[in-house]
């Protein structure tokens, strides 16, 4: 899954979608994921990064990650 290339994430976690005109905020983990997706990282790379660096169980992260991706899809921020 890839973030649409005209989507930019600012330092503060602010996202502006030039296609729809909507803006969004991300929390720290959300920002991290969005940036990694923009860099073209795969789902499993992202998962490993989080398990290595954050206090989180694998199942919890997988669960949250797939929900987050569904939200990004729902908001039309990703391209297949």
């Amino acid at each position: 899954m890839k973030i649409r290339n005209n989507i930019a994430v600012s330092e503060t976690g602010f996202v502006f979608d030039p296609n729809s005109g909507d803006s969004f905020t991300l929390n720290e983990t959300g920002k991290q994921i969005l940036n990694m997706l923009s860099e073209g990282k795969t789902g499993s790379e992202i998962k490993h990064f989080f398990i290595e660096n954050f206090e989180v169980e694998v199942t919890t992260f997988e669960n949250n990650f797939s929900e987050f991706l569904m939200m990004l899809q729902g908001l039309n921020l990703v391209e297949e």
């Binding site: 803006s23 905020t25 991300l26 929390n27 720290e28 959300g30 290595e52 954050f54 949250n64």
Partner: protein
């Protein structure tokens, strides 16, 4: 080895670009990790989830605040603990140890008060449902019987014929105090002369002692003014009785109905900002009595039966998040292990609910559902809530009134109720139910076995 970073569920939230409407920037939600110094996670580990928690310290503090508010303004004040608000024996005993009498509204509550060691002459017996046996018992024990209707008055007169003791009675008066809705289903009406009529019948019967006048004007009164109106009207009745029969009323009972600091559904400002303080209620009531025609040398005792405002703050519900899910419209929903079967008051309050451990400022609009398989099981319709995960704990504040009496055993069993004493020790004051506690009351006819 490097320490890992704190994790939070990733979220993305649309910024609603808007002009002024009523909800906007919300600051970070505070957390409550301890109740009276006891860690909530420890309470859950020891007593299970969910659990009711009651703070003895808060009960005593609140009681003394109320007492101070009234007794600094009026010479003789007596509180009577409203059993229906919370009749756990341990809770009642705390109030009684502070000097509160008992205010009961059924034979069941009456017997509970007696079993708690309260003598009949410190029990106010209210309510429309007092059986003949209840009345006989109350007369024998010298309890104060608050008459609700004429049928009861006549029944008591016939009991008085055969009893060795004279019944001690008050009448409950309902009246227009300018509030809506008008509570006219209890007692005798003031405006149409029914109350005055009842008083005359009692006095002319010469079979009972008219000792008091009682009213209970409504519930969750957000302004103290109606109490002033009610107190003036009761004072006026007392003065009339004195003029006509040269008989002094011993007490005026203003009932209850004081609001706690909860926020009613539909209210814009939170209850903690808008609900009157004990001082404001006391000011309204005592000014009305002091400025009335009552004989200043023989002022009647002022009775108060406030329940909710004395116990709500002392009660907490602690529990655990069962699951998070997304509703079809994208809104987050969170399922918790406390439902409306235990938190009856969530039908009319926007209960305050807090995380137990540190959270970030991020929050999402969330609907909080209870665990019941019932559509009505909603704890909060919408609340900007931090990103709790499954198995995280939460605490619901200010639930001490009515929930532990109006609760239902439905789908799940009722949990432990834990008291934190003045020294921070915890005690179970009501054991959690087991299947046995319910099935022991059931009987299966032999042919079905």
């Amino acid at each position: 080895m490097t320490t890992k970073k704190r994790y939070e569920r990733p979220i993305i939230t649309k910024i609603n670009a808007g002009v002024t409407d009523k909800f906007g920037m919300r600051p970070k939600m505070p957390i409550i990790s301890k109740i009276e110094g006891v860690a909530i996670t420890d309470i859950i580990a020891k007593y299970g989830s969910p659990a009711f928690v009651i703070s003895e310290k808060t009960i005593r503090k609140t009681y003394n605040e109320a007492k101070r508010a009234f007794s600094t303004r009026y010479p003789n004040v007596q509180f009577a603990w409203s059993y229906k608000t919370n009749y756990l024996d341990a809770v009642c005993q705390i109030f009684h140890s502070e000097g509160a009498w008992a205010e009961v509204v059924s034979g069941f509550e009456y017997d509970k008060a007696i079993a708690n060691g309260i003598p009949g002459n410190k029990i106010l017996f209210n309510g429309p449902d007092k059986s003949k046996d209840d009345l006989i018992k109350a007369v024998e024990n010298g309890a104060f019987i608050h008459l609700d209707h004429f049928d009861e008055l006549y029944e008591l007169l016939s009991i008085a014929d055969t009893s060795k003791k004279r019944p001690k009675v008050a009448i409950r008066v309902n009246m227009d105090t300018g509030v809506y809705p008008l509570w006219d289903r209890f007692g005798f009406n003031y405006e149409n002369g029914e109350a005055w009529n009842a008083l005359n019948r009692i006095m002319l019967s010469e079979k009972m002692d008219l000792v008091g006048l009682h009213t209970h004007i409504g519930t969750y009164m957000m302004t103290p003014d109606p109490y002033a109106v009610a107190a003036s009207k009761l004072a006026e009745l007392a003065v009339r009785v004195d003029k006509k029969y040269n008989h002094k009323i011993k007490y005026i009972d203003m009932g209850g109905g004081f609001a706690s600091k909860n926020t009613l559904k539909g209210a814009y400002l939170p209850g903690k900002d808008t609900c009157p303080s004990f001082d404001q209620y006391a000011e309204a009531i005592t000014n009305a009595l002091i400025n009335s025609e009552l004989d200043p040398n023989k002022m009647p005792t002022l009775f108060l039966e406030t329940g909710r405002a004395l116990i709500d703050d002392a009660g907490y519900l602690v529990g655990t998040v069962l699951a998070n899910k997304r509703l079809s419209n994208g809104r987050r929903s969170m399922i918790v292990d406390v439902g409306v079967n235990m938190l009856f008051t969530s039908f009319w309050y926007e209960h305050e609910i807090y995380p137990v451990k540190e959270v970030s400022a991020n929050a999402e609009d969330t609907t909080i559902y209870g665990p019941l398989c019932m559509n009505i099981d909603v704890i909060r319709d919408v609340i900007k809530f931090p990103l709790l995960q499954k198995d995280d704990n939460y605490v619901i504040k200010r639930i001490g009134a009515y929930n532990m009496t109006q609760w239902m055993q439905f789908i799940t069993l009722r949990p432990n109720i834990v008291l934190i004493d003045i020294n921070g020790n915890t005690h179970i004051i009501r054991e959690k139910e087991t299947n046995e506690s319910l099935t022991s009351h059931e009987r299966v006819p032999a042919y079905l076995k």
